[in-house]
């Protein structure tokens, strides 16, 4: 009974939204993009043909999402296509943030949905479906980065940020003042330029909203290591932003 109820809870809060308000979806949406996942879920649930609820559904009160999930688990290709349409945006965006490259993000999204197709029958509702899919996708990305030989934790001392150009040198230098506001695009560029390990920690913690203990489990490192890497990542971003501000001032 309890398991049945958890499977019904297919609409859920992804990890990214657990610690904060949902991201604004008003930016960078393509014209055909839905206003929100939930809107699309409601609209498209009607469009998917032949639900044949009497023969397929295990319970009469399944939500539209749980119904699609149940049908996809039963091997219904149209239902799987619909699951893709519901989750593609979030999974693609996750991959894109983690690798910073469109072609790779597409490959990884493809691999994540292929894995979903292989494993969807094993989903038992112990966690919310979107959380499960999110984790599955992160694992796909991590596996990919490991295969590429990229260290998931940055260990290169030469790459580590330092304090030697710290605020103490910046007295009276307005170009070093970051406090208050940050150029989002400059910060995105700086994140993209981070060594892979630092970018990974920063994206998982500060952008995706995972806790250090969750990241430590994912990356097989200690919580202290996760905290330390995040701190260094932020320091490197600060250095990069200051550099970018200096260049901007010279123009």
């Amino acid at each position: 009974m309890a398991q049945h109820q958890t499977i019904l809870a297919a609409i859920d809060i992804p990890p990214q939204k657990r610690k904060r308000m949902p991201r604004s979806r008003s930016q960078k949406q393509t014209p055909e993009a839905p206003a929100s996942d939930s809107t699309m879920e409601k609209e498209s649930a009607v469009q998917v043909g032949d639900p044949a609820p009497d023969t397929i559904l295990p319970a009469p009160q399944l939500s539209p999402d749980a119904e699609i999930l149940a049908r996809a688990q039963a091997g219904d290709h149209h239902a799987f296509a619909h699951l893709y349409s519901l989750h593609k945006r979030r999974i693609y965006s996750l991959c894109l943030r983690m690798v910073g490259n469109v072609a790779e993000a597409e490959d990884l999204t493809q691999e994540a949905f292929l894995q979903l197709h292989r494993k969807i029958g094993t989903f038992r509702g112990d966690s919310a479906f979107s959380t499960w899919l999110h984790r599955l996708s992160i694992n796909v990305v991590l596996m990919h980065l490991r295969k590429k030989g990229l260290p998931l934790m940055s260990l290169d001392e030469a790459m580590e940020p330092s304090y030697d150009d710290g605020p103490g040198r910046s007295f009276g230098a307005p170009d070093l003042s970051l406090t208050g506001s940050i150029d989002r695009l400059a910060l995105e560029r700086a994140v993209a330029a981070l060594p892979a390990g630092y970018r990974l920690i920063f994206v998982l913690h500060d952008v995706e909203g995972f806790e250090h203990n969750e990241i430590a489990a994912m990356l097989d490192c200690s919580v202290g290591n996760s905290k330390s890497q995040l701190h260094k990542a932020r320091l490197k971003l600060r250095d990069a932003l200051r550099l970018s501000l200096r260049k901007g001032d010279r123009r």
Binding site: R20, R23, S24, R25, Q27, K28, Q29, T30, E32, A33, G75, F80, A81, Y84, S85, K88, R89, R90, Y92, S93, L96, R97, A105, E106, T109, Q110, F113, L114, H117, Y163, G166, P167, G168, S170, L178, T179, G180, S181, I182, R184, L187, E188, V191, F202, V203, D206, V207, H212, V223, G224, S226, K227, S228, L230, H231, R234, L235, L237, R238, L241
Partner: protein, 84 residues
């Protein structure tokens, strides 16, 4: 050996900063930050970056062709495994 926070130097404070921030400690009211403008500025800059991160990389829609690729790959896999 941990120094009394009131007597902490900049280097020691910075060495502990990642732990302090990560543990959710009240860094803003740390005795060293109250006395040291330099470290306060550093902390505020790092905090601003962490806050700004929440607005980074808004969700994007993948290209339409991606589903075609996935669908083809699924069909190929199903063919290989002898789809039931």
């Amino acid at each position: 050996m941990t120094t009394d926070p009131r007597n902490m130097g900049c280097q020691e404070f910075r060495n502990q900063l990642s732990d302090l921030v990560g543990s959710g400690a009240d860094v803003e009211n740390h005795p060293h930050i109250k006395d040291c403008d330099i470290c306060r500025e550093l902390y505020e800059q790092l905090r601003t970056i962490a806050e700004a991160a929440k607005q980074l990389f808004p969700d994007q829609e993948p290209e339409d062709h991606l589903w075609e690729r996935i669908e083809t790959a699924i069909k190929k896999e199903d063919g290989i495994t002898g789809a039931k």
